[in-house]
């Protein structure tokens, strides 16, 4: 059982990292990216292939996975830069599905649907399965904490202010003197780097990746984490991710207790329970459990008479 809880913790951490990355793209800039799992896959495959086939050290592979996912993110952002809302959602969804289908059919890249197995993990043999998992929980937790602080810095900076502006009204932000296109691309670059990092870590943790793992359902689970936790709030992203993983896993134990249903019905019932849970959360916490707040920096305490007139402009 303890084994299981540790593995669950690692999964929760990886979900949290994805939710944090998505919070920059979707939560702050308001760009609906349904291709999340595609960038996760790019990170996982890049790091997996480089360490397995070319013998790169694991940290270097993870760094490469992060970087390549970010570059792909920039590419997708440049292609979709004129799209918003539903149109952006459908194109990014198409991107993720394209990645999955290419990886399934182009056997020379990574064995197609058989997947990549034997991806090295740090000190996997030396530590044995239990200690290895514990170690990995440490790694993922540290990565999540670092990412959390980076995201917080970014979204509370002038850069984050521009992203929040784009979410509300792109044209106003343009008139404000900001090149909206480059801000959107930068938001994608950062967010997809986080997704790639999560993917690379995932591959080294489980040692096996295959196209089936990168189905759109994972994208939806991460979106669900953000909706339930609080879209646009970093704490909400982590809380939501932990809750979703906890809920996904705990329903596994509840279903067998329900008498008279088959395994297939049980799986469907699990999905149903998740849907109901989301509805309940959103009914009572429409903006998520930890809603986004408006940043309030301290104001300078200037003497009123000095502040009555602004300086002559020119």
């Amino acid at each position: 059982m303890e084994h299981y809880l540790v593995a669950m913790g690692v999964t929760a951490g990886i979900y949290a990292m994805m939710a944090l990355g998505m919070n920059v793209i979707w939560g702050k800039a308001g760009l609906i990216n349904l291709g999340l799992v595609g960038f996760f896959a790019v990170g996982a495959y890049t790091s997996g292939l480089l360490t397995l086939r070319l013998g790169w050290p694991i940290p270097l592979g993870i760094a490469a996975g992060t970087l390549v996912a970010s570059l792909v993110g920039v590419l997708v952002a440049m292609i979709t830069v004129r799209l918003r809302g539903d149109y952006l959602a459908i194109v990014t969804l198409g991107f993720a599905e394209t990645m999955r289908i290419v990886m399934s059919n182009e056997l020379w890249i990574a064995n197609g649907t058989d997947g990549l197995s034997g991806i090295p993990g740090p000190f996997r043999q030396a530590l044995g399965p239990h200690l290895f998992n514990l170690q990995f929980l440490g790694i993922v937790t540290a990565a999540t904490v670092i990412l959390f602080f980076l995201v917080e810095r970014l979204v509370n900076s002038p850069f984050g202010r521009v992203l929040r502006g784009i979410r509300d009204d792109e044209q106003v932000v343009q008139v404000a003197g900001k090149n909206v296109v480059t801000f959107k691309i930068k938001a994608f670059a950062f967010g997809t780097a986080a997704l790639g990092l999560a993917g690379a870590l995932y591959g080294h943790f489980t040692s096996f990746i295959a196209p089936d793992l990168f189905a759109p359902l994972l994208t939806l689970y991460v979106k669900l984490s953000l909706l339930a936790g609080g879209l646009g709030n970093s704490i909400g992203a982590v809380v939501g991710a932990v809750l979703v993983v906890f809920f996904l896993e705990s329903t596994r134990f509840i279903i067998p207790l329900v008498p008279g249903i088959s395994a297939v019905q049980g799986a469907a019932l699990r999905e149903l329970l998740i849907a109901v849970a989301l509805l309940v959360v959103l009914r009572f916490y429409a903006r998520g459990l930890v809603p986004e707040s408006i940043p309030q920096p301290p104001l300078p305490t200037a003497p009123p008479e000095a502040a009555v007139a602004i300086e002559r402009v020119r």
């Binding site: 900076s157 502006g165 801000f183 007139a309 402009v313």
Partner: protein, 256 residues
Amino acid sequence: MALLEVSGVERAFYGVHALQGADLKVEAGRITGLIGPNGAGKTTLFNCITGVIPPDRGRIVFDGRDIAGLRPDQITRLGLVRTFQIARGLPRLSVLDNLMLYGADQPGEDMVPALFRLPKALEREEVLLARAVAIARRLNLFHVIRNPASDLSGGQKKLLEIGRALMTEPKLILLDEPVAGVNPTLAREIGEHLKSLVADGITILLIEHHMDMVARLCDHVVVLAEGRHLAEGSFEEMASDTHVQEAYMGRRKWGS
């Protein structure tokens, strides 16, 4: 030379020729009014000047530089900024953030200075903050500075539009109906704000339908009709011009 010179600007939307060679000159240091009947192309001309909609043809020279076809953000950075007819405060940003967003030259809008909180970003933020607070005080928005822009009244939203424009340190502000839908007392107050801005050295071009506002504020009035320059002069001259009267009221068909 005029601060802004627009000549021969054309813009069509499919079959509709909104602008058919519009001309306009804005002299520095005064308030120029742009009037004309509904559908004359006033807002389209604003959109063309500020790059929100690129013109099909024509020259737009601002401060000695042809700006036709530049992006809105480039034009704003040159010192020409606009406000919107229907106030478009960013609803989920505080009034303060709405103002700060319009601040120019903030290195903290790049990722690396933002992530590492570089001193140059923090210093610029302090300067912008002081400016935003001063503008908010000047426009009587200080008491709502922490509220989200969606909570403002209609008149406060109009003031926020002007405040945001001021944050860019503009040479010329284009105001699209700054007092539409505002109560008369506040309208007069906004008028006084505009006069004091001109006294500070900012040039203003405004579209307005309230003729008493135009009469009180504008040093010079340009009339646009059917996408073309029709007449210009002082408000009194325009009000007594038969062509202008015809454009607004229609032609007298039966003689007296």
